[in-house]
């Protein structure tokens, strides 16, 4: 058995519901030797798309009668019977019954026009949360009705919906999985109220915005909103009645957990009357793109040879002018940013989720791979005096190893175009270079002894390769052996892998030597 816990917000007696907890039947003694029963409450009315609504066992009603708020609870079994032990009509007295669903203890009485003195909130409580894609169990609107009956005569009440449902059918055309976090409905019609606090007008059978917390946006939060590429999902938003004149727009906004906010204007060709009790359907195609500071990034998910080395322009990413050290970077359309952000140029705050640019102030070429899961940032054309290269196998700058990388290793003779497997080592100060490298334990090259081997390479003045002899410096021996021949360090198996490592090389260009230090980083 479950019991609904209602929460009151301050003096306004705003209404929150749908928060559920397990609790058995309880018995509360009342005065005059009577009693009341608080039954365990199950979920509220059951909505079966597209139009069906049924009572759930032990649903409860608010009944304003004889100047009181009386709770009626649905009796178990067949039939639409609601009972109370808190009210007994007197013979020969005519009563006005104002009935509201669900039960709200905050209602006290009505004004002279039949309007409640207190307000309810829309959406209310957890009812503003859809639990998963295409799940409709959160659809629980307000119902109201009124009637008159005399004495013990059972009132004949017809309830009507005070809200309606907008169904938003989202098709994922992004070519990759997306994760919906919320849906919002608004209009460009001034004065439209789609959320906030409302009084109940029993005389007119409608909601009346009370001027507090009222918003022109209906908000649905979504849990478990994953939609695979090419698939669709349906989302249900509860709204009060509203109208949209011809030529105006209904704005459907889709939010994702990758911080994308995608809005779609639906223009009314004629006046659209979203009357209470209706179900209104719309569809949107969501093509979520990776964005940085509002600019779409190039996604190299199929072309791992995309490169910013050749200056041809065709393989460049997106150029960002004058990135300033310390500035905040806004990413959207990129999932798991905490795993894939570029450790050499960016800093990620785990608590705030804020990404900060930590490189020197400069212009950079930026691109992204949804397949490999990484954000590359580089100078145009890469000045040989500013960068060295790692060459080998089993190492990447991206945390994902894909089968597209399996055949690629020791590829310097092919022009350094494999940006994934040929990491750049950036110059920090004269004679010192460092970069964050991801060593993966799932790469195709690994064997029982080691998971990666690599060289450190630069250029001489004639643009010929320089191969540096690497010796182990601080911390590196814990992770990397330099005992191999041919200046090829070996990344050994140990408990530290896989993960990001910051490798720092102190280089003597004339002697063609480098002392390496290694540090595991988050």
């Amino acid at each position: 058995m479950k019991k609904i816990i209602y929460t009151l917000f301050g003096a306004a007696f705003l209404f929150a519901a749908c928060t559920q907890t397990e609790e058995p039947f309880t018995k509360d003694n009342t005065e005059a030797g009577g009693f009341s029963l608080t039954a365990g409450i199950g979920t509220k009315t059951v909505y079966t798309p597209p139009f069906g609504v049924e009572w759930e066992a032990t649903d409860q009603l608010t009944v304003l009668v004889d100047g009181r708020n009386v709770k009626f609870t649905k009796a178990a079994g067949e039939g639409d019977v609601f009972t109370t032990s808190d009210f007994t009509p007197q013979e020969s007295i005519e009563y006005d019954y104002n009935v509201f669903y669900p039960y709200y203890e905050g209602f006290t009485s009505l004004d002279e026009n039949g309007v409640t003195l207190e307000s309810v909130s829309l959406p209310y409580g957890d009812c503003g949360v859809q639990k998963s894609v295409s799940d409709a169990s959160h659809v629980k609107g307000f119902l109201a009705g009124k009637t008159t009956a005399e004495g013990m005569e059972s009132p004949n009440v017809t309830l009507s919906h005070l809200t309606s449902v907008i169904t938003v059918n989202v098709t994922n055309t992004s070519g990759r999985t997306i994760d919906i976090s919320g849906i919002e409905i608004s209009t460009d019609v001034e004065g439209t109220v789609l959320g906030g606090n409302f009084k109940v007008d029993f005389a007119q059978g409608r909601l009346v915005a009370d001027g507090t917390e009222n918003s022109g946006t209906a908000v649905l939060n979504v849990e478990n909103g994953t939609i695979d590429a090419g698939r669709n999902g349906v989302f249900y938003v509860i709204v009060p009645e509203f109208k949209v004149p011809a030529g105006n727009n209904i704005i459907v906004t889709v939010k994702t957990r990758a911080n994308s906010v995608l809005s779609f204007n639906k223009t009314a060709n004629e006046e659209l009357d979203f009357r209470q009790g209706g179900v209104y359907n719309t569809s949107v195609d969501v093509d979520e793109r990776p964005m940085m500071n509002g600019v779409e990034l190039k996604d190299i998910k199929d072309n791992i040879m995309a490169s910013c080395w050749d200056n041809s322009g065709t393989n460049h990413g997106v150029w960002f002018d004058d990135l300033v050290h310390g500035q905040e970077i806004q990413f959207s359309g990129i999932y798991d940013i905490e795993d894939i952000y570029n450790r050499d140029f960016l800093e990620y705050d785990n608590e705030s989720g804020i990404v900060t640019y930590i490189g020197e102030t400069q212009s950079l070429d930026v691109f992204y791979s949804s397949t490999m899961g990484y954000i590359w940032m580089a100078n145009d054309g890469y000045d040989k005096s500013k960068v060295l290269y790692m060459n080998g196998y089993g190492l990447t700058q991206a945390p994902k190893w894909t089968t597209a990388l399996d055949g690629i290793g020791w590829q310097m003779d092919r022009g350094n175009k494999y940006v994934v497997s040929t990491p750049w080592i950036f110059k920090n100060i004269d004679g010192q270079y460092s970069s964050a490298i991801y060593f993966s334990d799932t790469n195709a090259w690994k064997n029982d002894e080691y998971i990666s081997q690599f060289q450190l390479i630069g250029f001489d003045d004639s643009a010929d390769w320089i191969y540096y002899t690497i010796t182990a410096g601080e911390g590196s021996e814990e992770y990397i052996s330099t005992a191999m021949d041919n200046n090829v360090p070996t990344v050994n198996w140990n408990a530290a892998y896989p993960g990001y490592y910051r490798l720092t090389f102190t280089v003597d260009h004339d002697a063609k030597t480098a002392v390496m230090s290694a540090e595991k980083i988050d």
Partner: protein, 43 residues
Amino acid sequence: MKQNEKLVYESPEIVGFETIMENGFAISGIEAPDYDPDRSFEF
């Protein structure tokens, strides 16, 4: 109306639906209204 077994307490306090009716009241025939297809449209 039939006795509501869900509202019956076990001993020592046996409370049946008839007892409730002696002290309270019931409303019957309140239907949960479906949404109205005639009020619905695509946009």
